[in-house]
């Protein structure tokens, strides 16, 4: 059913490397199978929820993103996998990706030229900004600083993220993030978006301290604590009883 509905992206060349696939399978059985099942078919709990989802058809790009950013393997079950230092090295991640790609057709790891920012001109940056404002800011904030989602989930900040992982996240839709397929948001659109996010990081902070670019949350807190706090301090100074002398009046 899934294979019919989810259009197959080109079969992955990684999956064709049999030695790499079998190396990946070894790693998978040790590190991943306890949650995702021995054949990556997923494990359903007694409450009919997913212990670990099926990885058939998620593609090499999803593995490269989840393992490469340290989100997988999970440190503990929770509402959301967190970015942390990766556990597997580059070669092991490639092997795992090859194994999962061999299970069913899915998005491949994008080639470096797809997200290379060479030759991105101002016009492309502006275009990337328009795509960013339309598709990304609802969750990731106008400055890519991230934001809160219901139930303790969150959209992570986009600053300091490797362009490859941004590309893969758009392509595969990790966790609650929707998918932005190459057919709709083309590789060029994605490159422009990534270039725009990079330009946000380089740009000066015209308005003074950005306070994390969290908008009214941090700015409001600053105004309440520092602004109103110092006004209260002055009021206390004005109203405080000043020191009195015991020497008695001159008059």
């Amino acid at each position: 059913m899934y294979a019919v509905l989810a259009p197959a992206t080109a079969q992955d060349e990684l999956a064709a490397d049999e030695a790499l696939v079998s190396q990946g399978r070894e790693l998978f059985l040790v590190g991943c199978a306890s949650c995702h099942g021995k054949n990556a078919e997923g494990i359903i709990t007694q409450d009919n929820t997913q212990y670990g989802p099926s990885l058939v058809g998620v593609g090499a790009a999803a593995v490269d993103f989840q393992v490469g950013t340290g989100r997988m393997p999970l440190a503990q079950p929770g509402v959301q996998a967190e970015r942390k230092p990766p556990v597997y090295n580059e070669e092991e991640t490639r092997a795992l990706a090859a194994f999962v790609a061999s299970l069913g057709p899915g998005p491949a790891i994008p080639e470096a030229e797809k997200y290379s920012m060479e030759g991105v001109d101002n016009e492309a940056l502006v275009r990337g900004g328009q795509f960013f404002l339309t598709n990304c800011t609802a969750c990731h904030n106008f400055a890519g600083a991230g934001g809160a989602l219901p139930g303790g989930k969150y959209a992570p900040p986009l600053t300091g993220v490797d362009p490859k992982y941004m590309y893969e996240a758009m392509l595969t839709g990790p966790q609650q993030m929707p998918v932005f397929s190459d057919a709709v948001i083309t590789p060029e659109d994605k490159r422009d978006i990534i270039a725009y996010i990079a330009s946000l990081e380089e740009g000066p902070s015209y308005g003074g301290f950005a306070l994390g670019s969290w908008g009214p949350v941090s700015e409001g807190m600053f105004a309440w604590l520092v602004g109103i706090g110092s006004l209260v301090g002055f009021a206390v100074w004005i109203g405080a009883h000043s020191t009195r002398s015991k020497k008695g009046g001159r008059a």
Binding site: L5, N135, P150, G173, V179, F180, P204, R244
Partner: protein, 343 residues
């Protein structure tokens, strides 16, 4: 002389009077007084220097250039703000110090007095009014009085006529959007039409009606300027795809989607913010303004927040070339509710 602040004999609650006045060090020690005087004068003097520094900074630093010279802040911004800020702050601080240390601080009591004017004043004012009425003869000449009232009332008309220019009544503009039967659904910003097999499970597409990107035979946009903005504010949609078995459509809406692809208005039904904070695993879409949450798998039912009705759904199908199109316009007004909106 009887001191009004002292207890009145027979008052049920004793007037405690004022506490004994204690002098401040500056009242009794000439050295302390001199020191306080110098402090206040120093603050006022520093304020004047800051005002001068403001002028120096204004000419010394380029506005707009070098936006991250000091701690990531522009030199111009930083020094203009600091100098003007301290110029104002030091005047205030000097005034406070002056009042606390040097101004006379003997407590005084001001008794309350009735607010009304005195009786002779009131009598005199009433007499003047009566005299004026009699002298002008306004009571005796109803023709003048009535024509004056008419003239003043008629002055309201120019105001009403001028205010009409604020715009025509919205008419049925709130009830309709540019969506028509057969209009293609295109990707926002790019304007490209969308085929169902380009949309993956879990995908979100921020989409628009194709007419916003259409041009006439002379290459001019069909809709542009203010009209484009007004129509965009109503016609924007989100397109999502989920597993078909996850969808629980109303009986009449079973064929409103295409293979698990559903199309909803992007305009929140609470106060009209555009929504695209979509969680692909829960199929919930959340409005950033007031946290209204809609379940797109269940006809955009309201799960949480102040929105009172589901997001309107746009029925979709595919055209001969395989692109996604609208089956019709929206069946109900999109966006916030309004009084005349029919149920």
């Amino acid at each position: 002389m009887v001191d009004p602040h002292l207890p009145v004999p027979g008052d049920p609650i004793d007037n405690p009077g004022l506490p004994h006045h204690e002098p401040r060090p500056t009242d009794v020690d000439p050295a302390a007084e001199k020191r306080a005087e110098r402090q206040v004068a120093a603050m006022f003097g520093l304020s004047a220097i800051c005002a001068l520094l403001f002028c120096v900074a204004y000419f010394a630093f380029d506005i707009g250039e070098e936006t991250d010279t000091f701690m990531g802040l522009g030199a111009s911004n930083l020094f203009l703000g600091l100098s003007l800020g301290f110029a104002l702050l030091l005047i205030g601080m000097g005034a406070i110090q002056w009042a606390r240390k040097l101004m006379r601080d003997h407590e005084i009591v001001e008794m309350r007095h009735p607010v009304a004017s005195s009786e002779p004043d009131r009598t005199e004012a009433l007499a003047a009014l009566t005299q004026g009425t009699a002298d002008s003869g306004i009571a005796r000449r109803p023709l003048i009085r009535n024509s004056l009232l008419g003239a003043v009332a008629m002055l309201g008309l120019p105001a009403v006529v001028a205010l009409r220019d604020l715009g025509p009544l919205p008419g049925d503009a709130l009830e309709r959007t540019v969506w028509r039967k057969g209009m293609r659904i295109v990707n926002d910003v790019a304007g490209t039409p969308i085929k169902p097999d380009q949309v993956e499970i879990g995908q979100l597409i921020n989409a628009e009606p194709a007419v916003f990107f259409a041009t006439d035979e002379e290459g001019e946009p069909v809709i542009e300027g203010h009209e484009l903005q007004a129509e965009k504010a109503k016609a924007a949609v989100i397109l999502v795809r989920m597993q078909p078995e996850d969808i629980n459509p109303f009986p009449a809406r079973e064929n409103w989607g295409v293979d698990g692809i559903l199309c909803y208005s992007k305009i929140c039904t609470h106060v009209g913010c555009p929504i695209s904070l979509y969680e692909q695993q829960t199929h919930h879409v959340l409005c950033p303004c007031h946290q209204s949450t809609f379940d797109l798998a269940n006809n955009a039912r309201v799960l949480f927040g102040p929105a009172a009705r589901p997001l309107p759904q746009l029925p979709i199908s595919v055209d001969d070339e395989g692109y996604l199109i609208a089956q019709s316009g929206f069946e109900e007004p999109v966006g916030p509710s309004f009084w005349e909106r029919g149920e």
